[in-house]
């Protein structure tokens, strides 16, 4: 009853394993991650199996809508001739979305509330942008640190600022997703704790709020997945086009 509202974020290994001295113990978060992968994979397999029709079924039209929306993002930020990034972007979006959504089911675990997970996503994207940038533009890629059209006097001032704003990108990606998910679930935990600790004639108030907050969290889960993908597209497009 007087539980710490951050208690449900803690992870304890359920199957201790180690490989070459690395701790690869299985825990709740990993099971949920597998579940999220299985759900995304299974859903699309199901849609594909049931046949892609001219008059789409409910599931198919839903999937088509989301995929068209994501393709629009890729076309808009990266460019129409760079459609090869579309599978990556779509996979990222659906995985994050399903992770966020699974976290809303009571008793499960929100893996995106671990900064390790979101940080890994962001690091992969950052390293990818660096590789693409240096691969496509060579050393000209360093020109991204020097905005065009600034006075020469400002150059020593602008370069550190540009470096910081470049480095801040992966961090802000990771921190945004992590902080939003953690904050939402902490609020839910606090409200549930209140409604359990108070007598029923006041306790129903925070309990009613949890219903509202859950609706809000549903929206946040979608919006965060959307922002994460939009910014991924934007960062990829930025290094590809380089203005």
């Amino acid at each position: 009853m007087n539980e710490n509202p951050l208690h449900h974020f803690e992870l304890h290994p359920s199957v201790p394993l180690s490989l070459f001295g690395f701790d690869i113990s299985l825990n709740k978060a990993i099971y949920i991650m597998w579940l999220a992968l299985a759900i995304v994979f299974g859903l699309f397999l199901l849609i594909n199996k049931s046949g892609v029709r001219m008059v789409p079924s409910k599931m198919q039209s839903m999937a088509e809508m989301l995929l068209l929306f994501l393709r629009g993002l890729v076309d808009e930020f990266i460019g129409k001739e760079e459609r090869k990034f579309f599978p990556f972007v779509a996979a990222l979006f659906f995985f994050i979305l399903s992770c966020n959504m699974i976290g809303l089911v009571p008793g499960s675990y929100t893996i995106t509330s671990q900064i390790v997970v979101t940080g890994t996503f962001a690091l992969i994207i950052f390293v990818m942008t660096l590789f693409i940038g240096f691969g496509r533009h060579g050393l000209h890629f360093l020109g991204i640190l020097l905005p065009s059209g600034i006075p020469k006097v400002l150059i020593p001032l602008m370069i550190p600022i540009e470096i910081i704003s470049m480095l801040a990108r992966p961090f802000s990606l990771a921190v945004r997703l992590f902080a939003n998910m953690t904050a939402g679930h902490t609020v839910l935990a606090v409200l549930f704790g209140m409604s359990l600790a108070l007598p029923w004639f006041i306790g129903f108030l925070p309990f009613g709020f949890t219903v509202l907050i859950n609706g809000l969290e549903l929206m946040v889960a979608f919006i965060q997945a959307y922002i994460f993908t939009t910014l991924t597209c934007f960062y990829l497009g930025d290094v590809i086009k380089m203005h």
């Binding site: 808009e76 704003s165 801040a168 921190v175 203005h243």
Partner: protein
């Protein structure tokens, strides 16, 4: 209106600006963290410089200022690009070829 620096965010097409609510919420979530994180990165880099070159407290001071500037710059660029998008939508021609 064009800013003094290159636009960092590419033009967003009409389909995006139609969906104003989603875009607005997205921006609201984005810009807040952008400011905080850039300041934090600046401070961290300054702290690292202090640690390795023993220039305490100057590194962290300068780092904080640069970080804050970087955060403001990101937000400023987003605002500028939004503004020019709106002007593109009001005027009928969207000739923004040279930016992207």
């Amino acid at each position: 209106m064009r800013g003094p620096f290159r636009l960092s965010i590419p033009c967003q097409n009409k389909r995006m600006s139609k969906d104003n609510l989603r875009q607005g919420i997205g921006l609201a979530f984005r810009l807040g963290t952008e400011l905080v994180v850039a300041t934090m990165i600046g401070a961290l880099m300054g702290y690292a410089i202090d640690h390795y070159f023993e220039t305490r407290p100057w590194g962290i001071l300068v780092g904080l200022i640069f970080g804050g500037a970087a955060g403001c710059l990101t937000v400023y660029r987003t605002a500028i690009s939004l503004q020019s998008d709106e002007e593109d939508d009001n005027g009928d021609q969207p000739p923004r070829g040279e930016d992207s």
